[in-house]
Symmetry: C2
Subunit: 493 residues, 2 copies
């Protein structure tokens, strides 16, 4: 394990002060040009040195005919060139004194025996010059905190707490928007490609030490350094959760993974065992990977598996209860104290069972503070799962009926929603030891839910996803607290 993040070979790759960029030109429809354009779009503040044989400037940056001409030794080289010239280019970088590179270009091991030979050439050059490099056949890195995104798709949304190491490049460049819509953002994301020099274990070490990263997510098609992976993961999970999606759960997935990066994948059950042994939470789908990350990155450790469901409709309450049951969560009955406190606040027709169904209520203020506040005081429960039906759809109608002019309705409604959101959010401060999770069947982009998501309350589009994420949090702490300091076994490799 590394002692500090600066020791990681990925540190200069993820946090470069200057970059030599090979393969960008003034023709936009080239992959290198699009990648440089992404860097520019996010507003990276470091120095960019395009290397181009003919152009005097590339996309507004002074260009250099050769890497040898650069006025300084940049921290990083990004290489997006035809396969045939990559090795020579890496060697030139070595001669210049560059010690870190991202090789985006494909055509190496994943392309067959000839490509595998070419990859060995890259490895030899790296060894000769002491270069550490990511790839080949990768999309590089994204570090939103440094406003650095040299991937093919422009970044959307603010930085966040999700670290990703991925054997698929698309999942680092195509997930900006997905994460943002679901209330997250990357702390740092790394596409490892063929892992010729830097591999997913190095990423684990980096993300384990990265203070922006609260949860590490892994997209895995196959692990080569099995023993080291286990050792590293075991050192990280006691203080930071790791969630892994292994695409080898089915014969079809295993086959697809193999043809994608050329890495070897193994039986599903072995990975299950390895993950469990390391305290890694396994996700079965990409949606789960980030659903779990959201909960693990935002929620406190739950005291147990007992959930109270707050709803104002029977059906959503029953489906949530069903989902909790399937996820291994329990629904405790309320204590007499809780029932007594609830009585004055709920309609006479509402029962005081769990799920607490508030039934139809037009005075929603209590639903967002007083009632959940009582539920969070319940000593027999560990977590709260609340159903959100957008209050906006009612407020708009009410305000209109009250004669509020059409042009003022939105502002009035937003003010009321913000008051509710503030009240609900304050519950996380009053009850810091009890996880609070939401679910809705409406869009996550509606004002109140969006606001709460942005403030770190995980809200899911489905009670099933919410319940499974809550169960994943429980599983993490159970594995963490139960992890034995047993001999490291070596099932992988």
């Amino acid at each position: 394990m590394i002692c500090s993040i600066e020791e990681s070979p990925l540190y200069p790759i993820i946090n470069p002060k200057s970059i030599a960029f090979f393969g960008a030109s003034n023709t936009f429809l080239r992959m290198g040009s699009m990648m440089l354009s992404s860097v520019q779009a996010l507003g990276y503040g470091g120095t960019i040195y395009p290397v181009h044989q003919k152009e005097e400037s590339v996309r507004g940056h002074k260009a250099y005919a050769s890497v040898m001409d650069l006025p300084e030794v940049p921290d990083l080289a990004i290489i997006v060139l035809p396969t045939a010239v990559v090795c020579k280019t890496l060697e030139d970088c070595g001669k210049k004194g560059i010690r870190h590179a991202i090789v985006v270009s494909g055509g190496f091991r994943e392309a067959g025996p000839e490509g595998a030979e070419a990859q060995k050439g890259l490895e030899a050059v790296a060894l000769k010059y002491g270069i550490r490099f990511l790839g080949p056949n990768c999309l590089g890195v994204a570090n939103p905190y440094l406003r650095l995104n040299p991937t093919t798709i422009t970044s959307e949304g603010p930085p966040g707490f999700v670290g990703l190491a991925s054997q698929s490049g698309s999942f680092i460049t195509q997930m900006f928007d997905y994460l943002h819509r679901h209330g997250m953002g990357f702390s740092a994301a790394v596409s490892v490609g063929n892992e010729a020099n830097i591999d997913i274990v190095d990423c684990l070490e980096y993300l384990g030490a990265c203070t922006h990263t609260k949860v590490i997510t892994l997209y895995i098609e196959g692990i080569t350094r099995g023993r080291k992976f286990i050792e590293t993961a075991k050192a990280i999970t006691p203080h930071k959760p790791i969630v892994a999606l292994y695409v080898g759960g089915s014969e079809a997935g295993r086959h697809a993974g193999r043809s994608h990066t050329g890495s070897m994948s193994g039986p599903n059950e072995i990975y299950d065992g390895v993950f469990r042994q390391c305290g890694i939470i396994r996700a079965q789908t990409l949606a789960e990977l980030f659903d779990y990350a959201l909960a693990l990155g935002t929620l406190p450790k739950p005291g147990g598996n007992r959930v109270i469901i707050q709803t104002h409709s029977g059906g959503p309450g029953a489906t949530a209860a069903d989902a909790c049951g399937r996820a291994g969560l329990a629904l405790p009955p309320f204590s007499a104290e809780t029932v007594e406190k609830l009585r004055p606040m709920i309609p006479k027709t509402a029962s005081t069972a769990n799920p607490l169904d508030l039934t139809y209520s037009l005075n929603s203020a209590q639903n967002f503070f007083d009632i959940p506040d009582v539920l969070l005081q319940e000593k027999n429960a560990d977590m709260l799962l609340a159903y959100f039906l957008s209050p906006g759809i009612f407020m708009d109608r009410i305000l209109k009926e009250m004669g509020v002019p059409a042009e003022s309705i939105q502002a009035e409604r937003d003010k009321m929603i913000m008051e509710h959101a503030d009240a609900f959010f304050s519950l996380t401060k009053r009850h810091p030891d009890k996880p609070i999770v939401g679910f809705t069947y409406r869009s996550l982009q509606e004002k109140m839910v969006r606001n709460l998501l942005d403030r770190g309350i995980p809200i899911y589009q489905d009670p099933e996803r919410a319940a499974r994420a809550m169960a994943a949090v429980l599983q993490y702490y159970r594995l963490r607290d139960g992890i034995e300091k047993s001999e490291i076994t070596n099932n992988l490799k």
Copy 2:
């Protein structure tokens, strides 16, 4: 079974020409007022007769002090009054000659022994006058084709093909927006409440005969007329799919369901058996309920379980392959003919394995027609699953780089996207026997996906959901074609 839809007791309830409305007033913050407001918002063209003791008019409609004063006998009475006066009101309706009603009011069987007595009173009145009624303790119906929505939340989106009979009222009134966002709409939706007179079996009969309804969805907490349910469902599934969500899959869900409508629920396994026997597809979550409905309502019968995945990124392809494998779908290799046809269209570095990974391509036109057209000709495959990354995010950048003025970019991009969408959509006409399904990790509301959704191509936000929906379609036809005309057994009640 009914012979024509007009024979259904639900026909005048779902298709009334005139409605007597009890419980709406000029005070908006009443449930009855909101429900009448929803009717007005959608623009129902029939006649509304508010019955109100004091007001001369209610929400712009001439009001009547007593139902006896109405100038005609309306098709339907909607009653949203305090429990204590509901029975008397229903009796008045009977005297007036009204033969169909929706009793929205709660406080009956679900509220305990006293309420159960009151419900018996309602039943007796109905018997006396030959009234058929929905409820009590329900939210009524929605018939978007008639622009009729007397539920608490205003309707969003156009009418569609999904029929819903629900033991939860919230799922008919809170799902308009959900269905629209996911590419669907209700044909008709019924909240059955306590099922004192009309039950879920009556709804099945109605929806089975309803020509707008292509798929029937059921939200079930417990079935009372088990034998009749089986008989009816068995008569429907040979010509129309039924998908059911039974919330009793876990102890928690069962408990929640029981307290919600007071109906009895039974062991999960019994329902599994009943559904299978009837040819009903079972969904485990609400998301699955409508995911399956979307696929069943839009796709042709697949010839088998063999899927080709088209992607331009490895990770999404591998996760889709994994999901297909888990869902029991097979990924056949391509025939030599297909490989030959693909060669000139795909990059040299792309492999011709399934999933077909087109890799990074800036000329996307072929991806939306020529390539999937070849894949759909593959004789070894039955279905196509295509990954959609919004072309808009690239086009905007390309157009900007080409110097297209900022104010023209959106129009240009939308034009290109529509061309792609038209081309892709035309594949459904060229290959009418092969289901075409999509998945994306971006918002379903982005232009191209939204357009294809609106034209009936099912696109899911996750390959897992897509694969499971495809498997549900297969399961439907397998059950349908394998259903034996065996003796009706009676596992339920």
